[in-house]
């Protein structure tokens, strides 16, 4: 297998066993992978535990675009970023944890900024529904908590 693999290519294996052939320059945008490559502890195939194929494909898409578009206008990249991060709650959550775990800074920043945008101007109630969803019942049963927290916050 290694013979058929072009030079400067790496294989990333997701938690559910799917393999992705990725240029090394793209893969090392993940600092965690970069460290493995530099320490030469990476064999041909690098396992990416905790990240499933679906999410890994998204992360690779992001890194590829950022690698290719170094010469491109920054505004184009920004447009790509804002479209890329515009996803459902679950994908966002998985992407953030994956970006954090694999240490892909650009992706993490774009995702976190997107979440911040979702929070801006929203009431506490709205934030709870949006982000905590099914946990809401716990909070509703202790409705007074909001006031207590507020009181403590501002002294």
């Amino acid at each position: 297998m290694s013979s058929s693999l072009e030079k400067n290519m790496l294989i990333l294996r997701s938690s559910d066993g799917e393999e992705f052939i990725v240029p090394e320059v793209v893969a090392v945008m993940s600092k965690a992978i970069k460290n493995m490559v530099e320490d030469e502890c990476a064999s041909n195939t690098i396992p990416v535990p905790n990240v499933d194929a679906n999410i890994l494909a998204m992360v690779i898409e992001f890194c590829k675009k950022h690698d290719e578009s170094e010469a491109e206008a920054a505004s184009d990249l920004k447009t790509f970023d804002s479209e890329f991060v515009n996803r459902g709650q679950e994908a966002l959550y998985d992407l953030i944890t994956a970006a954090n775990f694999r240490d892909v800074k650009e992706l993490l920043d774009a995702l976190c900024q997107n979440v911040a945008e979702m929070i801006k101007g929203k009431s506490v109630h709205h934030i709870r529904i949006q982000f905590l969803g099914y946990q809401l019942f716990e909070i509703l049963t202790s409705n007074f908590i909001w006031n207590i927290w507020c009181d403590r916050d501002f002294d």
Partner: protein, 352 residues
């Protein structure tokens, strides 16, 4: 990943902090602190890193805009956005975390608004025949509380009148239109409301029926070189203080601090007594803070809260007065934020 593991409340603290760092609106950050336990601790770290209460309140020009005020800390400028229900209002003053808002076209229509909880309380209309300019207000406790009483001070042809009500009242309970004296500052001190006029006469105001004014001190002696503005404050050791601000040609020249001698009923001048504390001067809402590495100890920070009305005549009179040597300096950390160019008044805004 199973969906049950996707709990935004369980997101790692470091990640929550990165998210919260991107919030430019201070109140978004405060709201995040009340969402759940983990968000609270993460947001608190971010808050503590970047905010130094009290903040400087800086309403924009009188144009209609979503953003009706800014809060300035040494490191960051936060916007306060008005809710849709209060579009077309402008911010006039603040007291313990609440803002006094008036309708742009009809200054008789006034509200109290808490930008953190987003609660707003409509007050009765100010007496129209007085052509009132609402100035500032004090409340006995949080306006959320049904037992609260609100006193709004407004300008009527140069004299200062007051109105008292409880939140939710349709009418003012009492209108103090016959005040022959001009209130400079009001403060709740040990549970009672005190007011001081231009001449330094201290009065205790009681919301009884009939309403009672008790004179506590006679006129204070002092320099007549300029028209002083007087402020009340409670010292860290609990004394009642009066700060006299001498202004000439719209610029503050010097400040004096007096403490009230309750047995004699007179004001005594005090010097050099703030220790590690700094006093942030604001009408109805002066506060002592630990100097830390943000403020300078033993100093009085004054801002342009004297100014009322038209923004064109605004002089940007703000600075730091050092009690030890009597020198006045600008405060540089705020200058860097270019708020000097903003044509509006400033005042200190405390969260509680």
């Amino acid at each position: 990943m199973a969906s049950s593991s996707r709990l935004w409340s369980d997101l790692h603290d470091d990640l929550l902090e990165i998210i919260f760092e991107d919030l430019t609106d201070f109140f978004d950050l405060l709201r995040c602190r009340t969402v759940c336990h983990s968000w609270r601790s993460a947001a608190k770290k971010v808050c503590n890193n970047i905010t130094i209460p009290p903040l400087l309140l800086l309403p924009p020009k009188q144009t209609i805009s979503k953003e009706y005020a800014k809060l300035v800390s040494a490191s960051k400028v936060y916007s306060i956005h008005s809710p849709n229900t209060l579009a077309r209002t402008r911010c006039l003053s603040s007291y313990h975390g609440w803002l006094l808002m008036a309708d742009i076209e009809d200054p008789c229509t006034v509200y109290l608004y808490n930008p953190v909880s987003r609660v707003h309380v409509q007050l009765p209309s100010l007496p129209e025949r007085d052509y009132p300019t609402p100035l500032r207000f004090v409340t006995s406790c949080s306006p959320d509380d049904p037992g609260c009483s609100v006193l709004v001070l407004y300008d009527h042809m140069g004299s200062h009148n007051g109105c008292i009500c409880k939140p939710g009242d349709a009418e003012w309970w009492k209108t103090l239109i016959d005040m022959s004296w001009c209130i400079d500052d009001m403060m709740y001190y040990n549970g009672e409301l005190y007011a001081i006029d231009k001449h330094g006469t201290l009065k205790r105001l009681k919301y009884a029926d009939p309403y009672i004014e008790e004179e506590v001190s006679a006129m204070a002696t002092g320099s007549n070189r300029s028209t002083p503005w007087r402020y009340l404050a409670k010292s860290p050791s609990g004394e009642l203080l009066m700060v006299v601000r001498h202004v000439e040609s719209c610029m503050t020249k010097f400040l004096e601090v007096y403490k009230f001698d309750w047995s004699e009923g007179v004001w005594e001048e005090v010097r050099n007594t703030f220790g590690d504390q700094a006093l942030l001067l604001a009408h109805n809402d002066s506060v002592f803070v630990d100097a830390g590495n943000i403020y300078r100890p033993n100093c009085i920070y004054f801002v342009d809260d004297l100014w009322v009305g038209d923004s064109n005549s605004h002089s940007h009179d703000y600075g730091v007065y050092e009690l030890g040597n009597g020198k006045i300096e600008q405060f540089y950390q705020f200058q860097q934020r270019q708020i000097v160019n903003a044509a509006s008044f400033y005042r200190w805004f405390r969260l509680l």
